[in-house]
Point group: C2
Chain length 268, copies 2
């Protein structure tokens, strides 16, 4: 949508599973042309962008590997990177594979939630394979800059560890919060009516698309496991300080968290 | 500010600790008159509103109990209710005490964050004491409705249990999240730069005023302890399902959480 409406590409072709979605993409001016036939869209493509849940991207890579691919850049927008760039190794040599992940998003999914301004000001992680040429990285960087984001090169493992902390952990915490509130809701349904902005913000990610999140959780289990253990241990420590009424230690931690949240350390 | 700018009271008098704040309140049209002298403000007051962190409200109630109070309604806006309404028992019989808690707020504090539209559409819990007259509850309800909120009568213990779930638990989860991210930040500071909207929303409450939150945690320890235990157990269960790759059970829980977050059960 950002490419189409920004006039960044001669032609943007959308490939969807269902014909209704193809129609909708055309109507919403997300693409110039839409089809349910992958082969038809690939013909003459300079850049292929895979933008589905992670494990579907991996399936698509295997599917593409068996097709007659043009000389092109193949970019994915998946939320985890290790499994995807590993799958990309199977692509033929005339295809330039490049893993990527725009660090922005919404808990809403579907075309009606599409927003061409979503990428503005966001960081966009690029994960080149050993075989990926500088020219391919440069082309992707130009496209990313053109939609208003800032490209950032990174290794797949580091990316997956970082997003486990700042994206997947918050999601699981949001789910745990909703399930804990639901437990109280079984005996006092008023809890849902009383829930105000604090609950709504902290639990927002629990409204995320389940297929997308399940693919993320299943392709980043080790890093997410580490972050969950770390957060559980922090939570346990905080609960202990509250139970014991240790105000001094509690004040120190709350003050630290507030300072980090209000002015995050800058990365020099 | 909502009373002053909505023309709801003949005169709104602000009492602040520091003279600078009194000046600021006047300049921002939060009040008609401001003073640092409590006795001066009490003279002829029909309604006294205590709006500070919880334990400060309790100190103020004890202080007021020793002063020459007019015949008035004494309303507090504290975030927990059991300790406050218990303290209110000491007030002389010609004072009508009424605990209350508007179910809205910001993580920002101070007069510059004041917003007279904050209460619009919010629920506002009222916790009368056994001695509180219907007329006093009715006067408070009128004031609450006039600033755009909806009064809701409730017992103190129930209020404290409900806010432990929807307000205090989200705060502690947000703090645990920030501290867990900080742990990773010790070895990879890039985590702060990469943090996008998901992290920002889930961690927003960690930016709350520490004095306010410490008073809340210390005056609602039992209920918060229960909710923390419940959330920890949910978190542990989710971590286990992720580690074991139990997609079926995980999908069921994520789908339930999404449904509850997207369309909370209505309270009939």
């Amino acid at each position: 949508m950002a490419c189409r409406q920004g006039g960044l590409c001669r032609e943007v072709v959308g490939v969807t599973r269902r014909p209704e979605t193809a129609q909708q993409a055309l109507a919403l001016q997300v693409v110039h042309r839409a089809t349910t036939q992958l082969a038809e869209a690939l013909d003459g493509a300079d850049i292929i962008v895979l933008a589905t849940p992670v494990r579907n991207i991996i399936r698509q890579i295997h599917q593409l590997g068996k097709m007659n691919l043009p000389r092109c850049l193949l970019l994915d927008l998946g939320s985890t990177k290790q499994d995807i760039v590993r799958a990309m190794e199977i692509l033929p040599p005339h295809v330039e594979p490049l893993g990527s992940h725009p660090m922005c998003g919404k808990e809403l999914s579907g075309l009606t939630a599409a927003d061409p301004a979503l990428y503005r000001g966001a960081l966009w992680v690029l994960v080149p394979l050993a075989r990926t040429s500088d020219a391919a990285v440069s082309l992707a960087s130009d496209l990313i800059s053109a939609v208003g984001a800032r490209p950032l090169l990174m290794e797949a493992a580091r990316h997956d560890q970082l997003v486990a902390a700042i994206s997947h952990l918050p999601y699981v915490l949001a789910v745990a919060l909703v399930l804990a509130v639901a437990r109280l809701g079984e005996t006092d349904a008023m809890v849902w009516q009383l829930a105000a902005s604090g609950f709504r913000d902290t639990s927002r990610l629990a409204g995320s698309d389940v297929d997308m999140m399940l693919d993320i959780l299943m392709t980043n289990r080790a890093a997410i496991g580490e972050m969950l253990a770390c957060a559980s241990s922090q939570l346990c420590h905080l609960a202990d300080l509250i139970a014991r009424g240790d105000e001094e230690s509690l004040r120190a931690l709350l003050t630290l968290a507030r300072a980090l949240r209000t002015s995050p350390p800058s990365t020099a």
